[in-house]
């Protein structure tokens, strides 16, 4: 099965430093699941810096029911949320579904994340299922016999606290030194390269979001904001609901890539900081006191942004069936958003099946509401914020239209 990799999304960059050892022929498969969706550039940067050829870093396909049926069935060990359950299909595809075999299956246990909220919140941990998912899934491939070994594949599952860059070289060195014949210094350099690649990618995406938002501001047009976990960008998990809304002409922004520029943050949150209500634009203690979980924190922060930013007139919230992390956040998120009259629509209990019919009906409803109420929402929210707006440098509206391309839109 060919593995389609969006260049924008899972694109690879070559490292500048020459690799000390020849690892160019090693093929590394990475299941494209859970928080790989927000950290993939780190892994690409890290591996290429170690001399692995970019074309030899293979991500599994987007999640699909067929993938699970063909490669994962019978290996499930327990029933849980679909974003974790479907990993068996990704492992299976990398083990049995590739024409050219991989040598290593790399499935990191990501304990914490390099979130933009780090330092402003109590912690940036991942969901317990995200961090432990690989241990659960691997059991399904080892319970009867070692399926990895049978297929000549080394299973590598480093435990990694990506939210604490200082300890990552130790963690990756310890876990991968024998598998990749690493020495410590090159691991350190590769980790740095990984973070650089991730940062550059995030910057690019945020810049793009800023352009979208600027376009909205200058044309007084609404956009729709997605509050979800990174892996809801996977068409098999999020069912491309946002794409159907975008098809009606509303740009889509994802919370993960909202622009964080000082001018914009100060415009949205400055008054509250000066009033002593919050300490920084990224302080969420006013709405969520136990801010331990990275993606949860980002969703709560996103709700605050959505409540304030005038051109975000509508929020769509995605949640997977049986998601324990999202459950306590349903009401507060909705209340935060709706406090300013911003529209809020929740797509909960998403699982393997895509209920195309009901999604279509809901999308039509959303579109109707967005069209009808956006002008008033924009006007009202704009009146709460100070002048000047950093997105409107000139009083003249810019007439250029911006239609995000489909593959880029997926990243948003």
């Amino acid at each position: 099965m060919p593995i389609p990799i969006s260049l924008t999304w899972f694109g690879k960059k070559r490292s500048a430093a020459p690799p000390p050892k020849d690892r160019s022929r090693l093929r590394v498969g990475i299941p494209k699941v859970l928080n790989i969706w927000s950290t993939h550039q780190f892994w690409v940067g890290f591996l290429t810096a170690l001399g692995i050829a970019p074309e030899n870093i293979i991500f599994s396909s987007d999640t699909s029911e067929e993938q699970y049926r063909e490669f994962g069935k019978g290996r499930g060990t327990v029933d849980c949320c679909y974003p974790v359950k479907c990993i068996s299909g990704h492992y299976g595809e990398l083990l049995f579904g590739l024409k050219k075999k991989i040598d290593i299956l790399l499935s990191p246990m990501i304990y914490s994340l390099p979130s933009f909220l780090r330092g402003h919140v109590l912690d940036t941990l991942t969901c317990t299922r995200v961090m432990a998912g690989p241990e659960n899934i691997k059991a399904g491939f080892l319970k009867e016999r070692d399926v990895f070994a049978e297929n000549g594949v080394i299973y590598a599952s480093p435990f990694v606290s990506l939210g604490e860059p200082a300890v990552v070289p130790d963690q990756l060195y310890e876990a991968l030194k024998d598998i990749l014949q690493l020495d410590y210094e090159e691991t350190e350099r590769a980790v740095e390269a990984g973070y650089r690649a991730l940062e550059a990618f995030n910057q690019k995406m945020r810049q793009h979001s800023r352009e979208v938002l600027t376009w909205c501001a200058r044309n007084d047009r609404p956009c729709v904001f997605v509050l979800a976990r990174p892996y809801h960008m996977d068409p098999g998990i999020g069912h491309e609901i946002e794409a159907s809304i975008q098809a009606h002409g509303f740009p889509i922004l994802w919370v993960q890539y909202f622009p964080l520029d000082d001018d914009l943050m100060d415009w949205l949150f400055g008054q509250e900081i000066r009033a002593g209500r919050i300490r920084s634009p990224f302080d969420i203690s006013d709405v969520w006191p136990s801010s331990y979980s990275s993606n949860t924190n980002e969703i709560l922060w996103g709700a605050k942004v959505a409540a304030r930013c005038p051109w975000i007139t509508c929020v769509i919230r995605f949640s997977s069936y049986e998601c324990g992390m999202d459950q306590p956040t349903y009401t507060p998120t909705q209340k935060i958003v709706e406090a300013t009259g911003t529209l809020f629509f929740k797509f909960g209990d998403l699982d393997a099946t895509k209920p195309a019919g009901s999604i279509k009906i809901r999308v039509e409803t959303i579109v109707h509401y967005v069209e009808k109420y956006s002008p008033e929402i924009i006007r009202r929210k704009r009146a709460w914020l100070p002048d000047p707006c950093p997105l409107l440098p000139s009083p003249e509206p810019v007439t250029q239209t911006l239609e995000p391309e489909t593959d880029v839109a997926r990243a948003f």
Binding site: V78, E135, A139, V287, K304, G324, Y330, I336
Partner: protein
């Protein structure tokens, strides 16, 4: 520019020092034994404190009604428990009195799973009840000295924290006594009676703890708790009460080790289908999970983390040394309490060993629920022949548990004869859960019987011969008589070997 009313999270109004006299601190979440001794500690420090009523099935309905769908069952049960209590108090005393008379204190703030987010469900429930001005405080479970909580009404200092930990350890060792004795008691109900008396005696002991929480020197408080015979003397007195209980250890019973999510495994009541009682009624001997293992885990895990961060963390060595010292104090205290009860309560498993056992299946740094311990404890019980069967209580919709149970698939693949019963507790699927457990229990019973017969064959003893020895040495039938572990899981089999080895002369 206009003003806007943004949403803000619940924040309790302060609980002041002056209010201490007439405000009652509500708490819950452990067994009635633990809660009674915790109450004594609070009384000792001048607080009014009261445990919530034991969890009932109706708490599940009350919780479900008021919080968002999809919560794990411990969240629903504990929220519903508070809800039902407040509802009945409001009916009795009126809203304003309830809001001013009570505050609720709960453990929280522990990180990635829903446990760190319980507060949200509680506040949602308060909203639903129209009691948003009711005060709810979170107690971080990994800090012994947190200073004064909002308003100074409650001070989480060393005198309180050590009192609470010591109370929990005492309740743990007595719980072991209870479960070691009840299945074998000759006079039905006697264990229960003695247990209640013992807890009441310890209540007085904790209530009169001569520390009084005065602004004392921290080292002095710690030193006193570490060195004093105050608690061990009390436990020795308690032990005498247990001597009165006659037991029949020749009843062949499968031993069932309880593991699982923290709240669910600790709980005794309808919150987990009364699983421990049910197992006993079905003819099993239950090994209850002590809260101490959880505390030990909380204490130990930073060591492993710090060791990995030696180069990056300031004063890592010193911090490790301090934690090791605390660990020593903790273990020594637990062992002293065990010894005071004749060495009967189980020893704490070595955290390093749990980690080593779980290692190929579940990484020890993965957090949430029981972490790697769920796998480690099951292997510990199996490999050391401490139990015939492992009953793993897993809450419906729990996040970490689903992961570790998944990892257990590999363990079972490697040890196919391990009797492992993962039971999902939903609150309303009791029959299904119990019948699943029963199937595995039937196998465990067979194993216990085989073991017993093997022990008789190996020693050449008969039941009659043992009875004859017991008749001449009634001390053998006291609940306080200790039977060492001879490599059999079952009590009866070990008893046979013990009689053969230690009472050879009496047999002659």
């Amino acid at each position: 520019m206009q003003a806007v009313a943004h949403y803000t999270a619940y924040k309790p109004r302060p609980f002041t020092r002056e209010e201490r006299q007439h405000v009652t601190i509500l708490f819950g979440g452990l067994t009635w034994k633990h809660e009674r001794l915790i109450q004594a500690t609070m009384h000792n420090l001048g607080y009014n404190a009261q445990p919530l009523p034991n969890i009932r099935r109706s708490d599940l309905d009350a919780g479900k009604e008021l919080i968002d769908v999809g919560a794990c069952c411990p969240t629903i049960f504990t929220t519903g428990n508070l809800v039902n209590f407040l509802k009945s108090e409001v009916a009795r005393r009126g809203r304003d009195e309830v809001v001013n008379k009570y505050v609720f204190l709960t453990a929280g703030a522990c990180g990635p799973c829903r446990f760190g987010q319980y507060h949200e469900s509680y506040t949602m429930a308060l909203d639903g009840l129209g009691l948003r001005d009711f005060r709810l405080f979170l107690l971080a479970q990994n800090q012994l000295d947190q200073g004064a909580a909002a308003g100074g009404g409650l001070e989480i200092n060393l005198a309180l924290s050590l009192g609470l930990v010591w109370a929990i350890l005492c309740a743990d060792v007595l719980t072991d006594m209870e479960y070691l004795t009840r299945p074998y008691e000759v006079v039905p109900g006697q264990t229960e009676e003695v247990l209640r008396e013992s807890i009441e005696e310890l209540y007085e002991v904790f209530r009169n703890r001569p520390i009084q929480g005065r602004e004392g020197n921290k080292w002095k408080i710690l030193g006193w708790h570490y060195l004093t015979d105050y608690f061990t003397d009390a436990l020795e007195r308690v032990r005498k009460k247990w001597e009165a209980i006659e037991v029949d250890r020749l009843r062949v019973k499968p031993k069932v080790k309880i593991t699982g999510e923290f709240w669910l495994q600790t709980h005794e009541g309808e919150g987990n289908y009364n699983m421990k009682r049910w197992l006993e009624q079905e003819g099993a001997e239950v090994i209850p999970p002590p809260v101490a293992v959880w505390l030990d885990y909380l204490l130990h895990s930073p060591i492993l983390k710090l060791e990995k961060r030696r180069r990056h963390e300031r004063r890592a060595r010193l911090k490790i040394a301090i934690i090791r010292a605390l660990e020593h104090i903790f273990h020594r205290t637990y062992n002293r309490f065990r010894q005071a009860l004749g060495g009967l309560p189980y020893e704490l498993p070595d955290q390093e060993e749990l980690k080593r056992l779980a290692d190929p299946y579940y990484h020890y740094e993965l957090r949430g629920g029981e972490g790697h311990m769920l796998v480690g404890k099951a292997l510990y019980a199996y490999l050391h022949k401490k139990a015939h069967m492992i009953c793993e209580l897993s809450p419906y919709s729990c996040m970490p548990n689903t992961m570790s149970i998944g990892a257990m698939a590999q363990v079972q693949g490697k040890y196919p004869d391990m009797l492992y019963a993962p039971i999902e507790v939903k609150g309303d699927a009791e029959i299904h859960a119990l019948s699943r457990c029963q199937m595995i229990l039937t196998e465990a019973k067979k194993r216990a019987q085989q073991e017993f017969e093997q022990a008789l064959a190996e020693t050449g003893l008969t039941v009659e011969a043992i009875r004859a020895v017991e008749a001449r040495h009634p001390e053998l039938t006291r609940s306080t008589y200790r039977i060492p572990h001879y490599g059999y899981a079952g009590t009866a089999a070990n008893y046979v070997v013990h009689i053969a080895r230690k009472w050879r002369r009496a047999l002659a």
